[in-house]
């Protein structure tokens, strides 16, 4: 910006000076970041196809010229402080699955499932039944999974062994570390009211 600062009483010649290159270029090279190289699109859209290929060279040249990173500018982008301070979106979770190990008593190896693909407990239990060729039955608050040889349990964040189905689904999704399908007498013990 120094190059076009106006003299107090002068004629401000620089503003009308003929120059090569895009206007405002000096300012850009000092201040902006080029994010073009991170914006690679897998399939350039329709009509712009030809132009974008030709322009790739130009874009590339400009990358070299621009600085790699920029200092954060105060008050930019123009977002109210309330929104800035009170909002931290969960990024990573959105991208990747929520995979947990599933073990079944007596089985030689473990499986892994992505909790995110299920629509709730019913869905999850049906999938487990299919995967391990067994029947788990229906959940009831009082009696757990009665009428079944198996009980679905999970290990939560605190390391405790919990019965699947007691807590809201989203809470289960965020606290479940691994699943374990118990069977036989041990399972019955867990399901029965004491």
């Amino acid at each position: 910006m120094e190059s076009i600062r106006i003299e107090e009483t002068g004629l401000n010649l620089e503003a009308t000076e003929l120059r090569l290159g895009l206007p405002g270029r000096d300012k850009i090279e000092k201040e902006t970041i080029s994010s073009f190289n991170k914006n690679k699109r897998a399939a350039p859209k329709s009509a712009e196809d030809d132009e974008s290929k030709a322009n790739d060279d130009i874009k590339h040249h400009h990358h070299e010229a621009a600085p790699a990173a920029k200092a954060q500018v105060i008050g930019w982008p123009p977002i109210r402080s309330y929104r800035k301070n009170n909002f931290a979106p969960k990024k990573a979770e959105a991208e990747y699955g929520n995979y947990v190990k599933v073990s079944m008593d007596g089985a030689p190896y473990l499986r892994k499932i992505d909790l995110k693909v299920y629509n709730g407990y019913t869905d999850l239990l049906k999938a487990l039944e299919n995967m391990f060729k067994l029947s788990i039955g229906e959940y009831s608050e009082r009696e757990g999974y009665k009428g079944s040889e198996h009980a679905p349990t999970y290990e939560d964040k605190d390391g405790d062994l919990m019965l699947v189905g007691d807590v809201p689904w989203d809470m289960f999704m965020s606290t479940c570390k691994r699943l374990r399908i118990m069977k036989g007498s041990e399972a019955r013990g867990l399901g029965c009211a004491v």
Binding site: L22, N39, P78
Partner: protein, 583 residues
């Protein structure tokens, strides 16, 4: 009939033999009392002295867009019977930390005068003002008929001030606390509404952080039968929302709390509760969203006209599923986590959409570039031809895309485009985005508000000056090449009211180009531009009826780092802090 102040007899002009027959003033006042529009009232007051007086006695609501443009004393002298006051304080860029904390705009001096002259004050709506707990307590105790308090983007108070409001305002109908910078000392304030208090119609505490006693809230909702707007904060969960909805099925606007934690059987109950809310047209909140529960909203979606998802991290498919139920939507606010695919769903599901705002979930993230691009923008414009208000934060844009958007939607009144990297050119051609905004102003004749960004030369401003004849508000950042840019706008936009500029190469020549213009505007803000102290002094000297205020950064020599110019009938500020230099 309200107790109103009566005029003295000597002001009355009844039938006089030398004058043509005229209405008695009381009749004129009655006639004028139906005038609601500010512009109409303004016109009416200019007709003649009789009408001027009738208008001022009959006015009940006043709007002051800049609290320093007039003083409370002048206000009460002209309008003796005001019931509702709306005041805006700090310049808009204070929202983005560009104005120091103790700049001013304190409401208290106004309240002192109101307590004496407007004892029947009912409504106070403040934006960007400083409000202290002491002021809130004073307000609560001074106006026995006080009904509605709305605070947006204000600062200086804590929940203790809200306690005073809840305790003393027996006739309160509206408490609307939005996005303020306040000290949240706890949720006890809500429990301060007495058990006999039943008049609440609007309650918005969505932006407060601490937990309120749910029991107290439930009882409050239960006994306030006229409650139509309820926006709770993130400490309220879905199970509790269900209880509240069952008590208030007549709600027109609901701000949910955290959209979490519902057991399967509770899901069905909540869905039923939503289906009973036949008047619900607005939903917001959805803090900490688990999209798993979104289906509970579906019964209410068909009636929704305004959906504010700007705090909900939704993915594209989640949004698409939700919107497929919302064919009646007129206003939609979302986060850019929905990406272009999400916006395509907007275009295909919401043909009646009039307003779209897309906020960045991660505005300072330089590494992982996500969010929306120009293609999402175009997709929305293809499907939503009635779009007239847009606020769009993105990381890439092209001239062609913007031209397509306005070709699809020529009725834009508000076009606010924020390309988040300052000075970024058209990503396809690497040219400035002048043609983009050229297309906007050429095509959208009704354009009132414009915010520009990206790489822009004086040409963009020439377009604006030449075509944007209805433009009232212009926001400029990191744009332009010379004084000619700003001059084109000053010269060409007859209806310009607010011009706010930052980090652009405009200097004294532009500032002094047309001095009289500033008297037809509410205000001018220029920060990090090329104006100097001398230029500002010249302006101040030649235009004594303007307030010319400068805030300087340390060690900046002759530069006027932050300049704020506004017209005022109250003269220079008497409460300016030392860092605000009044020239």
């Amino acid at each position: 009939m309200d107790p109103v102040r009566k005029r003295g007899k000597n002001l009355s002009k009844s039938l006089d033999s030398t004058q043509p027959a005229s209405f008695p003033d009381e009749v004129l006042e009655q006639v004028f009392s139906v005038l609601k529009s500010r512009k109409d009232r303004s016109s009416v007051s200019l007709v003649c002295k009789v009408w001027y007086n009738a208008e001022r006695w009959s006015r009940r609501k006043v709007f002051i867009g800049n609290c320093y443009s007039v003083s409370p004393e002048i206000l009460v002298r002209r309008f003796p019977n005001i019931r509702s006051v709306t005041l805006k304080g700090k310049p808009r860029f204070s929202d983005f930390s560009l104005v120091p904390h103790d700049w001013g705009a304190d409401i208290h001096s106004w309240l002192d005068v109101f307590a004496e002259f407007y004892p029947f004050l009912e409504e106070l709506r403040l934006k960007r003002m400083v409000v202290t707990d002491r002021s809130l307590e004073f307000l609560a105790k001074s106006f026995s008929g006080f009904k509605a308090l709305s605070l947006l983007s204000c600062d200086g108070f804590s929940t203790d001030g809200l306690k005073a409001i809840a305790t003393h305002c027996k006739n309160l109908t509206e408490l609307d606390i939005q996005e303020n910078d306040i000290d949240d000392l706890g949720g006890e304030w809500l429990s301060c509404f007495p058990e006999t208090f039943v008049s609440l119609e609007v309650l918005n505490f969505a932006s407060l952080h601490s937990d309120v006693t749910f029991d107290a809230l439930e009882r409050l909702v239960d006994r306030c039968k006229a409650l139509r707007v309820l926006k709770v904060n993130m400490h309220i969960y879905l199970e509790q929302i269900k209880k509240l909805l069952l008590k208030a099925p007549g709600l027109t606007e609901l701000g949910t709390g955290s959209f979490l934690q519902l057991l399967p059987r509770q899901s069905a109950e909540l869905e039923t509760a939503f289906s009973r809310c036949k008047n619900l047209h607005t939903i917001s909140g959805l803090w900490e969203l688990s999209s798993f529960y979104l289906p509970v909203l579906y019964p209410a979606c068909a009636n929704l006209t305004y959906l504010n998802l700007s705090y909900a991290t939704l993915q594209s498919d989640e949004l698409a599923k939700l919107l497929s139920n919302c064919s009646n939507l007129r206003r939609l606010w979302v986060l850019d986590t929905v990406k272009d695919e999400g916006l395509e769903a907007v275009g295909s599901s919401c043909p009646l959409l009039e307003e779209l705002r897309v906020f960045p979930a991660d505005p300072f993230d330089h590494i992982m570039v996500q969010g929306v691009t120009e293609s999402g923008f175009v997709a929305v414009s293809n499907g939503c031809r009635k779009l007239h208000y847009v606020l769009y934060f993105c990381r890439q844009m092209s001239n062609v895309a913007v031209a397509t958007v306005v070709k699809n939607c020529p009725d834009f009144t508000h076009f606010r485009l924020c390309i988040m990297n300052p000075g970024q050119p058209d990503y396809m051609t690497n040219e400035p985005l002048d043609e983009a905004f050229g297309a906007v102003v050429k095509t959208c004749n009704k354009l009132q508000r414009l915010a520009i960004s990206g790489l822009l030369t004086d040409r963009a401003f020439e377009y604006i000056g030449k075509y944007a004849k209805n433009l009232e508000i212009l926001s400029v950042a990191f744009a332009g090449s010379s004084d000619l840019g700003m001059e084109a706008v000053i010269e060409g936009c007859p209806k310009l009211r607010k011009l706010e500029i930052r980090d652009s190469p405009f200097g004294n020549a532009a500032l002094l180009y047309n001095l009289n213009k500033y008297e037809s505007m509410r205000s001018l803000w220029m920060s990090a531009c090329n104006v100097t102290m001398n230029g500002c002094r010249v302006l101040a000297k030649l235009m004594p009826r303007l307030n010319v205020e400068v805030m300087k950064d340390e060690g900046s020599g002759n530069g006027a780092d932050k300049l704020y110019v506004y017209r005022s009938v109250a003269g220079p500020r008497r409460d300016a802090p030392p860092f605000v230099l009044t020239l």
